[in-house]
């Protein structure tokens, strides 16, 4: 799979800018969200789940729904998710890499053009992603980019588990490529 790396930013640039964004916004969010917290993405999806839960009487007093439905950080993160979509769009347009795509080309190469199969995997994968993020208190952003930087005990375990679960799943999904150690 050829990737045109010359059209992308260097990892060092992206990584340093991300860290500056983390630290700068930490002060802002601590001031406006009524608690100290490193920015994450999960609560933004939780905000959508909480909005959906309004239609279910049994979930009115649910602590998870309460947390995502009423805390200011969930509202902020909901708009952060919207901002991510706009940011991704702008970056792709400005670098002229925006292209509509249904299924990832790499997936098609190994698993065929059947969209039913891919959509089933996407639905299952994203439900597990949401469930796991809610249980482990954050996603890659909250637990690794932020939690590891804080040396947070819980995040170190969560982040390591992300990799463990991901590596095993990737090997099962791509068995023919996972085994060899070819680097170049």
């Amino acid at each position: 799979m050829q990737i045109d790396n010359s059209r992308e930013w260097h990892w060092l640039k992206g990584g340093l800018l991300t860290s500056l964004l983390s630290v700068a916004t930490y002060f802002v969010f601590s001031a406006i969200a009524e608690r100290h917290y490193p920015f994450g993405v999960t609560a933004g999806f939780g905000y959508i789940a909480a909005a959906f839960a309004r239609f279910f009487d049994g979930l009115r007093d649910n602590p998870v729904i309460q947390r995502f439905g009423t805390k200011p950080d969930a509202l902020i993160e909901f708009f952060l998710v919207i901002g991510l979509i706009i940011g991704g769009f702008t970056a792709a347009k400005l670098s002229k890499t925006w292209s509509p795509e249904w299924l990832p080309a790499t997936w098609v190469k190994y698993h065929g053009k059947s969209s039913t199969r891919r959509v089933a995997v996407v639905i299952l994968g994203s439900i597990l992603l949401g469930y796991g993020a809610a249980m482990s208190g954050g996603c890659t952003t909250g637990n690794i980019l932020q939690g590891w930087a804080h040396l947070s005990l819980g995040s170190i375990v969560a982040g390591a588990s992300f990799f463990a679960g991901g590596i095993i799943t990737a090997r099962l999904l791509y068995p023919r490529t996972g085994g060899d150690h070819a680097a170049h």
């Binding site: 100290h36 439900i127 249980m135 040396l151």
Partner: protein, 180 residues
């Protein structure tokens, strides 16, 4: 006040999404390549961000300018983390990159957005048994609390370790192609 929250959420998300897409870490072959140990651009990006923000957070914390926020350690971190990892392996991206991908025109990620929210909804349904089984016996703190030493004795070795991983990955694997 509500407007400020909305605005800062939008601005932060915009900048973060711009960085993610522009650096190419939202790409399916890069994420799967990392999990298959074949492409390390995302790992290098991530560890760079961690080293840099770790040092900045703790310098500012020691200077009394900010209060660190630490997540609690319980069994949910391990079990939830593994479930999240399986989800990430199936999808080929994570929640933040999922949102940026929607902006890039990757249409299947729209399904994933609702799937992710639905996953949290299911979590809310199951919170009672999960809480009693997994979310007990909590420890809160940074890793130096557990080891009982000054945090700089962890920060510096951690930064050296991560920098070593970045150096090794960068030396052996090119970012120009994902080999599968």
């Amino acid at each position: 006040m509500l407007l400020i929250k909305i605005l800062f959420g939008l601005i932060t998300g915009f900048l973060f999404g711009y960085i993610l897409t522009r650096t190419g870490v939202t790409k399916y072959p890069r994420v799967m390549g990392m999990l298959l140990l074949k492409d390390f651009k995302i790992l290098k990006f991530m560890l760079t961000a961690v080293i840099s923000s770790m040092i900045l957070f703790y310098l500012l914390g020691d200077a009394g300018l900010l209060t660190l926020s630490l997540k609690t350690l319980d069994w949910g971190k391990l079990v939830g983390g593994l479930i999240f990892g399986v989800g990430m392996g199936l999808l080929g991206y994570c929640p933040g990159t999922l949102a940026a991908r929607i902006g890039e025109g990757k249409r299947e990620s729209i399904i994933a957005l609702f799937g992710m929210a639905f996953g949290i909804f299911i979590y809310a349904w199951t919170i009672k048994p999960v809480k009693s089984a997994l979310l007990t016996g909590e420890i809160t703190g940074d890793i130096s609390v557990l080891l009982g030493i000054n945090h700089w004795f962890i920060i510096i070795p951690a930064a050296v370790l991560f920098a070593g991983i970045i150096w090794l990955a960068n030396k052996h694997v090119s970012d120009d192609r994902v080999n599968f």
